[in-house]
């Protein structure tokens, strides 16, 4: 790779945008197909073979629609919000190591970078909800803020727990530490820290909540808030929010893969590469879809209770126990 750095970055950015867009489109297809299978029906079949062109048709439909700014809405914030929800998702993907070499920026504080940009997502949804001048959207915006604040804490606590084991914030190094057979993955490294599976489960739950996915989809709880913060968005404004939701799922699942499931490492110690990363990530994405179509939605106060009364204390205890364990060994 002898390209000059700016060109390499630009190429990576373009590739990333294409990846995110295509990924979002086909995750929607996968979600609809998956939902269909869970519900004993075939899902999309009409457009293209097995409905494979359905996302394209949907995209064309969304793009060709007028973006309506409701009267009384804040016109600037209303338009900025979809961009602001999309941008951080792409930014975070720049530091995720897809394989040993396929990484946009291999920086030392990759993990901090991911969480710093991940937090912007909340602000963007709040902005969209507030700017819409719609009561459902405002309720949704308020919910998103308290939900994401509540779940950021246990998520960061378990990540700190993990960092104490890895000793580095460079995502590529974290993956390299997990080389070899699959019991070297952080998830199974019970010799270093027997609480690893607990931290993984907490991380996964928090990831579901942070990305506003069912059963924690308080932001667009359609039986209560119609479409929540996105109620007033039409056309591609809504489309971008929709894409961002899937981009965030990919980011969350990528992070879980990198931190706990050995990233691009092969489970058998040989033949590591990008394929393993994608396999693991999409397995997690499938789990996310599976959960959505299986469980009903929680109430908002149970959701906050789960975080403040269960997840935060458990992750605190995990943190303390890990400290003690690491000190003893």
């Amino acid at each position: 790779m002898d390209f000059p750095e700016p060109i390499r970055l630009l190429a990576f950015l373009l590739g990333m945008m294409a990846f995110v867009a295509v990924n979002a489109a086909y995750l929607v297809w996968a979600e609809r197909k998956g939902a269909g299978r869970f519900q004993r029906r075939p899902g999309p079949t009409e457009v293209g073979w097995a409905g494979l062109l359905q996302p394209v048709a949907d995209g064309i439909k969304l793009i060709s629609k007028q973006v309506i700014v409701p009267p009384g809405a804040d016109p600037i914030l209303f338009r900025v919000a979809p961009l602001l929800v999309m941008a951080p998702a792409m930014m975070t993907l720049a530091v995720i190591p897809f394989s040993e070499t396929l990484v946009g920026r291999d920086i030392n504080v990759g993990l901090v970078f991911v969480f710093a940009f991940g937090a912007i997502n909340v602000m963007a949804i709040m902005m969209g909800g507030w700017a819409s001048r719609n009561k459902y959207a405002i309720i949704s915006a308020a919910r998103v803020v308290s939900q994401d604040v509540a779940y950021e804490i246990p998520m960061l606590l378990v990540v700190i727990t993990l960092l104490m084991v890895t000793g580095t914030m460079n995502l590529n190094e974290i993956v390299q530490q997990q080389a070899g057979w699959f019991w070297h993955w952080n998830l199974f490294r019970l010799d270093v820290n027997p609480l690893m599976p607990v931290t993984f489960i907490i991380f996964f739950i928090c990831m579901l909540a942070e990305t506003n996915r069912a059963p924690f989809d308080m932001a667009e709880a359609e039986s209560e808030l119609v479409a929540g913060a996105f109620t007033e968005y039409a056309g591609m404004g809504f489309g971008v929010f929709f894409m961002a939701e899937y981009a965030n799922i990919v980011v969350g699942c990528s992070l879980a893969t990198v931190l706990f499931l050995g990233g691009w490492q092969s489970p058998f110690g040989v033949g590591s590469g990008v394929i393993w990363f994608l396999l693991k990530m999409y397995a997690l994405v499938f789990t996310v879809i599976w959960v959505r179509w299986t469980f009903p939605r929680t109430q908002f106060y149970s959701l906050l209770n789960l975080s403040w009364k269960i997840l935060i204390p458990i992750s605190m205890v995990t943190l303390v126990l890990t400290c003690i364990l690491l000190k003893l060994t």
Partner: protein, 376 residues
């Protein structure tokens, strides 16, 4: 923190806002509007506004003959139309002293109970949809489709039935129908078991339903709430038992009642009722006598003697009462339709005060409202 601990801030009007839930809203399943005065996410006052689908069936009854009003009865509660057919037909039969042959009575009971199951299945799916669970709806519709196919074969319609006639039913059932119903009953029991494992025992569902939306016995009595609402308050009131009509007296079935009065109790009442309806259908098929399906003494021009009379049935949503007043003419003098959803919804304002929005909508879903049934 449970919703009941919260005192609504209705004394602070400057801190509340009005949220219009409906008439176009995913949770109202029709054109019902709830004018909710909200204090944050707490419901300070929820006033139902109805009438968006009002069709004045009672006036329509006054300008057509007794028989011509029959199709209207299928369009009040479109999910459980058989029971409404039954109440009107039986009221006129009671007024005009028309005999119904036993085979027709059994067919009425079998079809009514099939219709009750299909109605409860729609409720099951739609209620879970209110709670954010999408998948059960499709499973419930899968089962319901079998009932609709069976009923379509003998009545000619899938939803707005007009199958009963004064003095019987318009078509006899055939061996195909009986075989189909037996297959359905045999197939439904394992499905119910599956619903209980997958849905009833789900921890999120239990958290959303147990202890939420309390409606007690006294509230039911004061508002005239019936059906699964009063049975979910621990009162085993069922018109099929207290005013046994048709051949329900000869059939063996239980009335499920759960004393908790919360959404879970109403949920379990309905699920248990599906099981009881299956029992009734089985017994009905076993006991089904031979003979005609139309009585012989039905006059060609029907003029019931002057006077009024009532007939109540247990529809899927509760007590449905038809009061007819005749002045010995070909057209009714007055047809009064007392529908269960009307009374069940009227308690919503009192029951929902101080709840959080998602819980209030769970309560609304647990009442199993059909909007044309309220607005008539």
């Amino acid at each position: 923190m449970s919703a009941s601990e919260v005192i609504p801030a209705s004394d602070k009007p400057q801190e509340t806002f009005v949220l219009n839930v409906g008439p176009q809203h995913p949770a109202t399943h029709g054109v019902l509007r709830l004018k909710m005065t909200m204090d944050g996410e707490y419901v300070a006052r929820a006033e139902p506004v109805c009438g968006y689908i009002h069709r004045m069936h009672e006036k329509m009854g006054e300008n057509r003959t007794w028989a011509q009003f029959l199709p209207n009865t299928g369009r009040i509660d479109y999910l459980a139309a058989m029971a409404y057919n039954h109440a009107y037909v039986a009221a006129v039969e009671r007024a005009a002293k028309i005999e119904v042959p036993p085979r027709a009575e059994y067919i009425r009971v079998i079809t009514s109970e099939l219709n009750r199951i299909s109605s409860h299945l729609v409720w099951f799916g739609a209620f879970l949809l209110d709670l954010g669970g999408f998948t059960p709806l499709l499973y419930a519709f899968d089962d319901r489709e079998k009932i609709l196919d069976l009923l379509e074969a003998i009545t000619g319609s899938r939803l707005t039935y007009c199958y009963y006639r004064f003095g019987g039913v318009c078509n006899d059932i055939d061996a195909d129908f009986i075989r189909g119903v037996r297959e359905f009953v045999a197939g439904m029991r394992p499905r119910l078991k599956m619903y209980h494992t997958l849905v009833t025992e789900n921890v999120i569902l239990r958290r959303r339903l147990v202890g939420i939306g309390y409606i007690g016995r006294e509230m039911c009595r004061k508002y005239g709430a019936t059906g699964p609402v009063i049975r979910g308050a621990g009162v085993a009131y069922d018109v099929r038992k207290v005013e046994p009509y048709s051949v329900y007296r000869d059939l063996n079935f239980d009335i499920p009642a759960f004393p908790e009065g919360d959404c879970m109790a109403r949920y379990r009442v309905r699920m248990e009722e599906i099981e009881q309806s299956l029992r009734i259908i089985e017994q009905g098929l076993d006991k089904l006598p031979d003979g005609p399906v139309m009585g012989g003494n039905v006059p060609r021009v029907l003029k019931p003697p002057a006077g009024d009379c009532c007939f109540a049935v247990e529809a899927a949503r509760g007590r449905f009462l038809v009061r007819i007043i005749s002045d010995n003419k070909e057209i009714p003098y007055r047809v009064r339709l007392r529908t269960p959803c009307f009374c069940n919804l009227s308690l919503f304002e009192e029951a929902s005060a101080g709840m959080m929005l998602p819980d209030a909508l769970a309560l609304l879903g647990s009442l199993d409202l059909v909007i044309p049934d309220i607005d008539r």
